[in-house]
Point group: C2
C-alpha cells in the first residue's frame, strides 16, 4: 500500500502460475510473506505445487526468513478473490500485450488504488501495458531473472503515467523483500540485462551460422572462460580489476584501439573523452574504498570457491 | 616433445613474467611440473614472486597435484638457458606482432624442433606470428583466460604452417595438465570467448554513451541477473534448460521473432531452418543422457551454492 511503509507489507498476490509467477511466489514465501497465487485455471495447480516444492528445497538450503512457511500460501482461480487482501501485486501472465492491457484494465478497477501492481514483463513497456488502466499511476515494470527465488535482479521502470512515488516505494519494497532492484533511467527495448545477454546470444548465433564455432564450443568458452567471473563481478569492474593498479583508465587507453577490430560483429561506439571518463569515474565510484589488491583478492577468492564447488558437484 | 606422449611432459618453460606468464607458471607448478620462467629483466623478479605466492594460496585451497611444490620453480634472464630443458614452451610476451615474430624466429632456431611452442596471444594469429620461424610446424596459439591458474579455458588454433599433429598433441598435453582446451575450427579475430565478451562490452559502452545505463547499473544487471548462470552453463545450455521440456527447439520457436527486435544493437542472423537445427542438435548432443529435470537441478543446485558463497564472503 502506497500510504504505508514499503517494509510493512505482509501480503502479496502473484498473478500467474508459470515458472516466473510460481518462482515469485516461492521467493515471497521464503521471505516470510503471506502469498496468494492467482491461477488462470485449476489445471495449473499440480505444476505450481511441484515448482514450489522444488524451490523450497533450494530456499531452505540458503536459509529462510523468520516466520517463513509454505503454510502462508493460498491460491484462487477467482481474480477478485486472489487480489482482495493484497498489499502488493506481482503480475506474471504471458507476454501478449493485449492480454496484459485487458488484465490491467480489470485490475485498475477492482484493486484498491493504493496497491502497487508490478509487471514481470521482460519486453513490453509499461507505457503500452497501462493504456486501458483507470489507475495507471500505481503500475510499474519489475522484471526478474529466472528463477526469481535464486537470482536477485529486478529491473524497474514506470510508464508515462506511472507516478515517481510508485517507483520509489516499489524499490524500497523489493529491497525489504531481499531483491536487488535496479531503477532504469529510460524505457529501452530489452531493458539492461537482456540487452547484454542478447548481444552474446546473437554473436553466438552468427558464429554457429558461419561455421566458426559449434554450440558446445560456445558453451565451453563461456563456462571455462569469462563465465565464473561474471558470477562475481560485472563486465566493468572485471576490466577495472584487469587493468591492475591503473584500473579502467589503463584498460581503456590500452584496449581502446581494439574497439576498431572485428572482435565481434557489433560495431563499437566512438570512444570519446566523455565516454572514457564516464566509464573510469563510474568504476572509481562503484569500487570506492577498495584498492586493486582488495578487488583482486575478492575476485580470486570467489573463483576459488566456484572451482571448489564445481569439483564437488561434478565428482 | 612431439615424439613423446603428451602426458609424459615433466618440464615446462614459461616465457614472460607478467600476469599471464606468471599465472601459467603458477598453474603448471600446482599441477606438479618443473617450471622455468624466462624473465626479460631481473627487475621483474619481485612482482613475479608476489604473483606466484598469491596464486599458491589459492591453489593450495583448491588442492595441489601430487608432488607439486614451489621448489620446482626456477628462472633465468637468458632465453637459451631458460629453454634448454623444456619439453613444452608457453609464450606470453606482450601483444606486439613484431616482437612475437622476432621471438619465434629466435626460438625456431635455438629450441629442439620436437618441442611445441604455444602462444598465449589473445588477438594475433599464428599464421602471422610464425612467418619468420624456421620451424613453424610446432607452433600453435593457446590463449588462456586470466588468471590461467583459476579459469581452465585454453582456445587453440594452429597457423597455416602448423602441423595437425602439433594441435592434437598440445590438446592432449593441456588435458593432462588440468586445462580445458578448445580447438577452434577457424582462425577468427578475437577467437570465441573474447568475441562473446566483446559483444557484451560494446553493448555496455553504447548504453553508457547514450545515457541508458550507468557503469554501476550494467555491473549490477550482470552480477544479480544472468552472471551466476554463466558460471555454471553456457548461453546455449541455459536456453535449452530455460525452454523446459521442449528445450532449445521450444526456445527458438518461441523467441525466434525476438531476434528482429532491437534488444541489442547487434543485428541477428536470419534464423534459417539450418541454423535452428544446428542449435537444437548441438544442445541435444551436448546434454545427451540428461533430461530437463536433471539439467534444471544442476543449474539450481549450482545457483544455491553461489548464493551461499556470496552470503558467506559478503558478510
Amino acid at each position: 500500500m502506497l500510504d504505508q511503509a514499503a517494509e510493512a507489507v505482509k501480503r502479496v498476490t502473484c498473478i500467474g502460475a508459470g515458472p516466473i509467477g510460481g518462482g515469485w511466489a516461492a521467493h515471497f514465501l521464503a521471505q516470510g510473506y503471506r502469498v496468494t497465487s492467482y491461477l488462470h485455471a485449476q489445471s495449473e495447480y499440480d505444476a505450481l505445487m511441484r515448482l514450489l516444492e522444488n524451490a523450497w528445497t533450494s530456499l531452505e538450503e540458503i536459509g529462510l526468513a523468520e516466520g517463513a512457511s509454505m503454510d502462508n500460501f493460498s491460491w484462487s482461480t477467482d481474480l477478485a478473490e486472489a487480489c482482495e487482501q493484497a498489499e502488493f501485486i506481482q503480475e506474471s501472465v504471458p507476454e501478449i500485450l493485449e492480454l496484459k492491457q485487458g488484465l490491467y484494465q480489470t485490475l485498475g478497477d477492482i484493486v484498491d488504488p493504493r496497491v502497487v501492481i508490478a509487471s514481470s514483463t521482460s519486453g513490453l513497456s509499461m507505457t503500452d501495458i497501462q493504456t486501458r488502466c483507470s489507475t495507471p499511476e500505481r503500475t510499474v515494470v519489475a522484471h526478474p531473472f529466472n528463477p526469481p527465488y535464486l537470482l536477485p535482479l529486478v529491473e524497474m521502470i514506470g510508464g508515462e503515467q506511472t507516478s515517481p512515488q510508485t517507483v520509489e516505494w516499489t524499490q524500497k519494497f523489493y529491497q525489504a523483500a531481499g531483491k536487488a532492484p535496479l531503477v532504469m533511467k529510460k524505457e529501452i527495448p530489452g531493458f539492461i540485462a537482456t540487452r547484454l545477454q542478447e548481444a552474446i546470444w546473437r554473436e553466438a548465433l552468427h558464429m554457429v551460422a558461419n561455421g566458426e564455432a559449434t554450440v558446445e564450443q560456445i558453451d565451453q568458452a563461456v563456462v571455462n572462460g569469462p563465465g565464473p567471473r561474471w558470477a562475481l563481478m560485472g563486465p566493468c569492474e572485471i576490466f577495472h580489476v584487469g587493468g591492475g593498479e591503473g584500473g579502467m583508465a589503463y584498460c581503456l587507453d590500452q584496449f581502446g584501439p581494439a574497439l576498431k577490430l572485428p572482435w565481434t560483429r557489433l560495431v563499437a561506439p566512438e570512444l570519446t573523452e566523455e565516454l572514457r571518463n564516464a566509464r573510469v569515474d563510474g568504476c572509481v565510484e562503484m569500487t570506492a574504498g577498495q584498492d586493486f589488491a582488495a578487488l583482486s583478492r575478492k575476485m580470486n577468492d570467489g573463483l576459488v570457491e566456484i572451482a571448489k564447488m564445481k569439483r564437488k558437484t561434478q565428482s
